[in-house]
Amino acid sequence: MGKLIVSSLKLLYRDKQALFWALAFPVIFAVIFGLFDFTDVPDVDIAVVVEEGSPVSEGLLDGLGEIDAFSVTSLRSLDVARDELVKGYWDVVLGVPAAAPGQPLLLFVLYNETNFETNQFAISAIERLAGVMNLQIAGVDPPPVAVESRGIAGKSVEYYDFLLPGLVAMGVMNFSIIGMSVAISRFREQRILKRILATPLRPVKFLTAQVVARLALALVQAALILAVGVYVFGANLYGNVLWLFALATVANLIFLNLGFAVAGRAANPDAAQGIANAVALPMMFLSGVFFPTETLPEVMQVVVRYLPLTPLIEAMRTVAIDGESILRTGPQLALLGAWVAVSFAIAARNFRFARA
């Protein structure tokens, strides 16, 4: 059995091209997403049209310039500014009319209705600025009520931290469903399964060696993705990596079973590749690798919750982000356990070592 496992590992390891794609695909994802910067504050482009310069308008421009998220541009014509707002050049246009004696200076803000968050942020900032200036002009200085805000160092969870466990889960799934079904299908095509059947070796031993080899290599892949994420792109990993590996291995049994089922149905390796992709791709997009499943329509969430990749990703995030023990992922583990049994039944029904 030992010799068989070592041979299976050699087969995986020496097929460099297949190995590269199996291992590198999710790592490439980890790199690409690592290059994006998801932490930027919204950048608001403001055009300011001042009809007649005054100390008030000067103060306003200075105040806007001090807000980091604003990039302020002065324009001469309100018509041009409005035009360009419609075209989407500006998020907000601030009009400062000429001051009429005895009248309050009425600032007006034009905003693009399609961009709600940016507008609210910009309008409230402008209102706050006007309030401060009113108090100053009224001679109330220092202002009677002041706010001092202090940041408390809390746990920082960014999109990339959310994404990384998803990528690990996706990598395991693809490596096993696609990799296993294509490999077994190729063994069948090359008559290796039949050749094995002509020896006293029990077929289940041959398959077990394949499974063990793939479980091991999947962990190498998971380690690789996590290493790139944490050491190259500084992802935060709060939980115990060993729990992640344990989860990956349990779920991998499901994916390997599905791989066997696909290999049992596919006429040849190309067909296996196609069917395996049809099984894996929907899960990759639906089960929350890239986005929380809560963003899906509710009807779909009901179904998606029970796909095998979903509880794996949820459990992995509970461990990786919340820093919880694997014991806190009871419902997910139960679902994964059920899937191990169900997928084994599916595989047993669809996979035959030899075709009569």
Binding site: L4, R14, R191, K194, A356
Partner: protein
């Protein structure tokens, strides 16, 4: 345990047919009784691949199945090897039922499948070592590779071998357990004549060590050269079974007299010569004539008398024995190559 020596009680090849088998205590190498195999046909109904085949192979024999593609050779072989189950009938190897005693049988046989069947990314040495580990006893990979002149390729992958080398490897890989019976399915299909000759030498070497060899082929030269006995199979039935020589001598015309002439020849006169069974006239313009005759030594003198008496100048006169191809033709009315 790694035993490379052959058990002493195994004897050298018997010279006769299956009946020349030793004492009653020794079962034949292979015994097949009333074997049938049907498959569901694609358009409904059933397709009969093997239709009542019975034969037995003596220990130490080289036994061949000769027949065209689709005749049922491979199906028969795979049922005997325990790879497919029969629809009806019994197959035994070394006295063990191919299906009920499958695992004990597998330990004592070697199987070479029609094509390839080895891992892409293991070296020759690793494949032999791995397959050897499936058996209670195994032959050292070096010894096996040496036997087929591939010792210097021990670190090579199968895909780095030539067609002939790969085929030699696939045969030697069926010997990892020092089997008592070896099954070779079309061992030389697709090889060039030189590589085929090499393989014949290998099969004979295996045979000389006392191993029983059961092979299939659709090359009549191969069956004639290698096999002690040949079963001619067509449409799932054994049409004839005997030594190649007996099969040929069993033909009404066991010889051919071939000659060339540019003169007009009366076929009727040739047909009237003693011992002539059939006259094959040349197609338009060709000069070569062929007489199928039962006994060449009777026909030849009268043929030469006829030629000199008629003033026919004959050239390139040859007497050829009939071949298994002729046997197949006379049994089935078709050529093997069809």
């Amino acid at each position: 345990m790694s035993a490379t020596t052959r058990p002493g009680e195994r004897e050298a090849r018997p010279t006769g047919s299956a009946e020349a088998e030793g004492g009653a205590s020794r079962e034949p190498a292979v015994e097949v009784v009333d074997l049938e195999k049907t498959f569901p046909a694609p358009g409904g109904g059933t397709l009969t691949a093997v239709d009542g085949v019975s034969f037995s192979v003596a220990r130490g024999e080289v036994f061949g199945f000769l027949g065209p593609n689709g005749a049922g050779k491979t199906t028969t072989l795979e049922i005997v090897e325990g790879l497919q189950s029969p629809t009806a009938g019994v197959t035994r190897v070394l006295g063990l039922d191919s299906h009920r005693d499958r695992n004990r049988m597998k330990e004592r046989i070697g199987v070479q499948l029609q094509a390839g069947a080895y891992f892409d990314y293991l070296t020759l040495e690793e494949i032999l070592d791995l397959f050897g580990s499936f058996y209670p006893r195994q032959v050292a990979p070096e010894a096996l590779l040496d036997k087929v002149g591939l010792l210097d390729k021990r670190k090579a992958l199968v895909k780095q071998l030539s067609g002939g080398q790969a085929q030699r490897f696939s045969i030697v890989a069926s010997l990892v357990n020092d089997p008592e019976v070896v099954f070779l399915d079309e061992p030389t299909t697709g090889l060039d004549p030189q590589a085929r000759r090499n393989l014949w030498d290998l099969v004979q070497a295996i045979h000389d060590e006392g191993t029983t060899v059961v092979l299939t082929t659709h090359y009549m030269e191969e069956a004639e050269f290698l096999c002690d006995r040949v079963a001619i199979i067509d449409n799932g039935r054994i049409q004839a079974l005997d030594t190649p020589l007996e099969l040929i001598h069993g033909l009404p015309a066991a010889y051919r007299i071939v000659f060339a002439t540019h003169q007009d020849v009366n076929d009727g006169e040739l047909a009237a010569l003693p011992g002539v069974v059939e006259v094959a006239s040349p197609a338009n313009g060709a000069a070569t004539h062929e007489l199928r005759v039962s006994r060449a030594q009777v026909t030849l003198p009268s043929f030469l008398d006829w030629a000199s008496g008629r003033g026919v100048e004959v050239d390139d006169v040859r007497v050829l024995p009939a071949t298994l191809e002729d046997v197949f033709l006379s049994l089935t009315g078709r050529s093997l190559r069809e």
